[in-house]
Symmetry: C2
Subunit: 350 residues, 2 copies
């Protein structure tokens, strides 16, 4: 075991503060990573505050990790010292169930091991996230990061990027499709960039007219204001796909009207129960509503490679580790464009 510095919390009510945690020694199949950057995901806040009721403390958040390989175990085949790598929301799974065999470890039937607040299979203790100086991860859950990208802005790709790439990829979005991205936040801004890069006619759908300019800068071909009933009527039945990133309770019926016959709206943000859905919204036009959760490791690598080829990163605001509590508050106020990333040098130098 090695003792390292991290930022975490001892209870749901407390601020995050400097603490020491232990990382396991490097086993034969392990990769030890020097963490350079870690994104701040809204889930980190929900976890720290125990909003989902499953938190155990101490809790160290962080599942958008980018760093360089410090050391590899004797059996590691795909990584060597100094490789630029990433770690996302998962660090382990059973590797044998149907879901794992289908490269969908996020749906591992025995439960995937989350990057933090999960049981660590190797130590029997718990996992701690990327708000820390280093991490040891089994090779299968380490991703290659393209060297051509602005690496501090790569971190959010590991969660926000794959969460939006996976449904666009799984539902086979292609050149010419009309794709609506509902909601412009951490997820939505990646949705726009990715759908645009896939060649889709990308429409930002938002309640806020003041987001229009930024949406277009990010790659949206046009902006549809969902509060404008005339505009919504004009786009009725014209979308091949909708990616709904709205994280709070809302009425999805107006969006369903936008879909073409036999088309799908995928929910990736929904963490609160939705407003009642009308059966008629689905029945007329054989519409579909589906969910999607991050993506498997294979698909996450595909996403990173796609971003490397298309020079896509997240729009980020860099912070120092000590400013994390203020950053949490600003995320809760939707006051970030579009993702905070912690420069981990600020923790190492502390």
């Amino acid at each position: 075991m090695t003792t390292i510095k991290a930022y975490g919390t001892e209870s749901a009510d407390a601020d995050l503060e400097l603490m020491e945690i232990e990382r396991r020694d490097v086993k034969a199949t392990d990769v030890k990573i020097d963490i350079l950057y870690c994104g701040v995901c809204h889930s980190d806040i929900h976890a720290a505050h125990n909003d989902w009721g499953s938190a155990t403390y101490p809790l160290v958040p962080g599942h958008e990790i980018v760093g360089r390989v410090l050391e590899v175990g004797s059996d590691v085949k795909n990584f060597k010292k100094d490789d630029l790598v990433g770690v996302g929301c998962m660090v382990d799974s059973c590797q044998t169930c149907g879901a794992c065999e289908d490269d969908l470890e996020q749906f591992c039937e025995k439960g995937m091991v989350a990057t933090y607040n999960s049981k660590n299979k190797h130590t029997g203790k718990k996992t701690f996230g990327g708000y820390s100086t280093s991490v040891v991860v089994t090779e299968e859950f380490v991703l290659k990061v393209p060297e051509n990208l602005d690496i501090k802005a790569v971190a959010p790709l590991l969660c926000a990027g794959i969460t939006t790439f996976s449904p666009l990829n799984h539902w086979k979005i292609k050149k010419g499709d009309k794709v609506g991205i509902v909601g412009l936040g951490g997820l939505g801004h990646m949705g726009i960039k990715l759908a645009h890069a896939m060649g889709a006619e990308t429409v930002m759908i938002t309640t806020s007219p003041d987001k229009a300019k930024d949406a277009k800068r990010l790659g949206a071909d046009s902006v549809l204001i969902s509060k404008d009933e005339d505009e919504m009527e004009e786009h009725k039945g014209t979308f091949d796909f909708l990616l709904n990133t709205v994280p709070v309770k809302h009425d999805i019926n107006p969006y369903l009207k936008l879909l073409k016959r036999d088309s799908t709206m995928v929910m990736v943000g929904a963490i609160e129960p939705l407003e009642p859905m009308h059966g008629g919204s689905l029945i007329m036009g054989r519409k579909r509503v589906a969910g999607s959760l991050i993506g498997g490791i294979k698909e996450t690598q595909e996403m990173l490679d796609f971003c490397g080829e298309n020079n896509i990163v997240s729009d980020v605001e860099m912070i120092e580790m000590k400013d994390i509590n203020k950053a949490f508050e600003r995320v809760m106020d939707n006051d970030v464009k579009y993702r905070f990333v912690i420069d981990m040098k600020s923790l190492k130098d502390k």
Copy 2:
């Protein structure tokens, strides 16, 4: 125009009563049908009572029509006098839009013409349904009924049959799939028969243990009581497909848990807004909820042929035309196994 006898209503509050309506003369592409039997669908009641706000009076319900051809127009190719035929929920559509070209007239972009309470394209007046002695329908919307079936019990196939066949067919249910039919009424009892005939392991999912015996008689391999949490937990993640026929407001989250990863629940009964759906119910396992509305004419013919080959008809209780108001009350009380069918001889002899 020919004046014929029908049973209809002059207002939302009135009982159905004997009235006279006009049928158009047979045009070159028309088929005139002597109505032998007409099923009583719950929609007939909603329409008569103007529950959906779109009724105009007088209104003659009935869209589960079986009869024999009386006369055909000079250009009619596929039907001749005395053929056994059926008419379902539609009697016309634009025949040129994308949906019509895809044999999905129920989603006609210009609006399909419903068998009753729609604008009649030929007369400029309105359409009247099958609670009548005869009907004139354009050839494209007339279906061939297999002669080997018990024809009085064929009538409900034209709506309840296609409504359940279409999603099972569209989502490609095959031998060995585990299919759950949620709700045992007019739709559900057809869902069981059809899924069973397609070779699926068919599970009746119901709140009522007293429906178990009948469900098995209809072809269910087993019965899952949705109020029994232990039993629901046991079946969690095991269904390839769910067909939800429940027509009233209900919570679909427990059913979504029953689905395998990447599987779909199709709603065909929902006429009231559903209880709030949890995003997590969709996200975990990439589940899908979809809608389905009757079926196109081509698929309706496929359904009838399938029923002919597999000797499937509806379970019916025969009534005379004069007893329709009592039948409506019993349908509202769920007191029918599983579909009333009017013997139209009782109107002709009146």
